[in-house]
Symmetry: C2
Subunit: 512 residues, 2 copies
């Protein structure tokens, strides 16, 4: 539009000086828990119709395969067990459950600075998943991932401002014993970050040992129960409309041990859920509401994140796809229904189908991440690092995701309209007898750090500067940053005495 | 989240067969003119306050530097000329102008199939800009761009479903005579695409010759005036709040010759506009409303696109940045104000600061493109191909932009809520005595082409398939597609007799 992209650098020294002073956290342009909600893909009528279909589904179709304990809990709460083995939920039970459920959940970090308050349209971004490959940018390679890769991901996430939590994004493929894998997942995550951690458990009988580890890390059961810093990502349903029997038992165990639960329904639209966006949302909501009844029947008020995670499918191939516009709609539609119910919730966004952190990955990750944030999703899971439709996790992509999510968060923060930001006085002063430009005005300088998000690795140089710098490659910069982060001692590392005790009590696979 | 991303391929043959039949245009999952508006970054109160500030700015500050003809038109319409040379606009004049302005504009293509109806929240994406470099992916090079590059861009855009118009994205740097440059820009664009074309004129005296060329292309002045297929991208203001004297005269000439006008206000937030998002929007709106009064004073009802294009600035360096979250907000906020006024409008989105089509470019282009679409922006300019904060244009990026915008358009289309899409009947049939999955249901198969956008170059293979395919590189695929497009004869090429006549009448730089 104009060739003149460089403007006078008047006040540059002043701007540099202003920038030198670090910002207090509350003045940072973006941060965890900003309020979204300006994007509403569903109309009020659409939401009512979805809700009506959800109630019908729960009342008429119900869910199969609850474990005997679940049948007892749920029939005790008011559900009825049909001769076909399906538990059906009267609408009053659902409505009462919604009415009594937590309006707010605090997910805690080992460091309280990382606590997240899930309520309203407050937005948090983090990792998640169960990738089985580490994506190596150098060499464009997919290889099996292991516990060291997971720990490195935790350490990297710990340093990234816009990654607010670490749900385990990769499976420790190098640990064959499932119990050891589950325990080492906790160890690898928690020794790498003091942010909130999400993990899953393969078997209900593992939860007690995990709790023992958590008590040790916390410094006692009482301290753990006062500030639980991990949650259980629990696939309590096998869509469509069946409880995952074992996972339900894991959930019951987690509740007993004070572990917050993510009620995760992960239907695939077109395979295990209806292919339509609205239909997949209906089913996910129905399943998660059944889960919410379950949790509250076991322990009223136990923190449970409403995890409607419908995924997209490429209907041509039958393979999962998470990078599509349909995925962005699935997630944003769920987020809006969470607000409809006023339930703290989460869903998946930021998934790339692309195998590498290339342009496709950038557009895929941004599309669902920015729309998820704008829709006010409390927990945006899978937000960074995820490739190949969840099969691969990439450290460099995680690092770049920090920039990407920073920008999405700037959108979530929105447009501030005040006397000052409307800037009529400035306009008057600048245009009538003033300098004719806004460079160096008090308002411009005063807001340059608090209003604007600057990318850390994203490049804003001119073609000339870029060329003079040797045309730096984005991925090479991310790889260098990864090396730099991992070369430092982690601020989250366990105290040596604790580490020793953990290693004596458990088989820890991470080298000391 | 789950390792199982591949589901049974039951019905694959049926799906393949269904896919073989081409879709009629109205059944395509996305198309030009889909209705956005689900994203509203401004509250109702915020919009009222912005409007009030706009009226104050026009009444109290006004605009300087109108040409004498403009002063005559505008004072004739009711503006008053101050002793300081500024034209001030009473609020009744502004309100009357808004009330009487076009609610709808049709921008026509040389092929009527590409006509765009600009009204309400109907969304169209296309190119724009005045890049001075062509970005060569192979070699990562910025070189001066020329008329052949522009023509190639037009030919590529002509083949891309999700690029709905071609505003000239690059300057013909290889044509030193400005008149020849302007005329050859029209020739290079119109001989490459039958979609609507936008151009600018360096001097008011060039418009008559341009009109002569347009009459020849149209087959006569009457045919041109009945279906004008180019518009004039007119930077009629030099922000803050000054008319661009020469450009105003160009505008007057364009109006006389029946050329629709894009009233383009391109302030830079923090330099030529207030640094705050709200303030930059206020100023852009004030400037464009002044332009709207001007156009309607010259010729009531002449088609004028309300072009509020505030750009972002990196306040640390003083350089323009178009890839930021702030940019996305500037554009979406403007779009919402267009709806507030019910004026057909456009703004800039899709700009990458990145020098190359890499991950950064992907996230930057998607962020502002998807939010612009969701905000219901009628004309999303600069939507594809633009790098280095508008200094470079890249053919490969344009091609990839087609996939990116297809996905953004899928989000714009939104979530359909009907009895069928709520899918309760399907859910019932599948879960209770049915197959337990939705693969191959009539609804899944029936909607696989009409509901889902499939990327053309975007990769959805599994890591295994991808590896077997030789790990295809996204940019290499785009380069191959570019070669393929340009190897064919353009469907938009002029009839040989017309081409001969044009070449006899004008100095045409493009080789035959």
């Amino acid at each position: 539009m104009t060739d003149q992209t460089k403007i006078r650098s008047g006040g540059r020294a002043a701007r540099r000086a202003a920038r030198a002073a670090p910002l207090p956290d509350h003045m940072r342009p973006v941060r965890a828990g900003l309020t979204g909600g300006a994007y509403r893909p569903l109309t009020a009528d659409g939401m009512d119709r979805i809700h009506a279909a959800v109630l019908d589904a729960l009342e008429q179709i119900g869910l199969a395969d609850a474990p005997p304990s679940g049948v007892a809990y749920l029939t005790g709460a008011g559900a009825s067990l049909g001769t076909d083995g399906r538990l059906r939920f009267p609408r009053t039970l659902i409505e009462d459950t919604i009415a009594r459920a937590n309006r707010s959940i605090t997910l805690m970090g080992r460091d309280p600075a990382h606590d997240m308050e899930l309520s309203g349209a407050r937005v948090h971004y983090g990792t998640a998943g169960a990738a089985v490959h580490l994506v190596e940018v150098d060499g464009r390679t997919y290889r099996e991932c292991g516990v060291q890769d997971l720990h490195d991901a935790a350490r990297i996430a710990d340093t990234l401002d816009n990654i607010h939590f670490l749900q385990r994004p990769m499976v420790c493929r190098d640990i064959s014993d499932n119990l050891e894998m589950d325990l080492n997942t906790i160890y690898a995550c928690c020794s790498g970050t003091t942010k909130h951690v999400g993990v899953s458990f393969t078997d209900p009988s593992y939860v007690a040992q995990a709790a023992e580890m958590l008590h040790m890390i916390a410094g006692g059961e009482d301290k753990w129960r006062a500030r639980p810093f991990i949650s259980n990502s629990n696939c309590f349903v096998v869509p469509p409309m069946k409880f995952a029997t074992e996972s339900c038992l894991v959930m019951e165990e987690c509740i007993r041990h004070g572990i917050p639960v993510l009620l995760l329904s992960a239907g695939m639209a077109g395979a295990t859920a209806p292919s339509t966006v609205a239909g997949a949302i209906v089913q996910a909501l129905a399943e998660c509401l059944a889960g919410l009844v379950y949790v509250n029947a076991v322990q009223p008020g136990h923190p449970a994140i409403f995890g409607t995670w419908p995924f997209g499918l490429d209907l041509r191939s039958g393979a999962m796809t998470g990078g599509s516009g349909e995925q962005a709609l699935l997630t944003a539609g769920c987020a809006q229904m969470h607000k409809y119910y006023d339930l703290p919730g989460g869903a998946a966004a930021g998934i790339a189908d692309s195998k590498l952190p290339d342009m496709q990955a950038g557009w895929e990750q941004m599309c669902s991440n920015v729309t998820a944030g704008l829709s006010g999703l409390n927990m945006v899971y899978e937000a960074a690092g995820m490739h190949a439709s969840l099969l691969g996790f990439c450290h460099e992509s995680l690092i770049l995701g920090d920039d990407l999510i920073g920008q999405a968060l700037r959108c979530v923060r929105g447009i501030e309209v005040t006397e000052e930001t409307l800037a009529l006085d400035q306009m008057r002063a600048v245009c009538m007898g003033g300098p004719g430009h806004y460079l160096g005005t008090e308002q411009t300088l005063g807001r340059m750090e608090t209003d604007h998000v600057y990318p850390r690795l994203g490049d804003r140089t001119s073609p000339k500067e870029w060329s003079e710098l040797g045309k730096p490659d984005l991925l090479a910069k991310a790889t260098a940053r990864k090396a730099e982060i991992l070369s430092r001692r982690s601020a989250a590392a366990f105290d040596p005495a604790l580490d020793k005790a953990l290693r004596e009590r458990f088989v820890i696979h991470l080298p000391r």
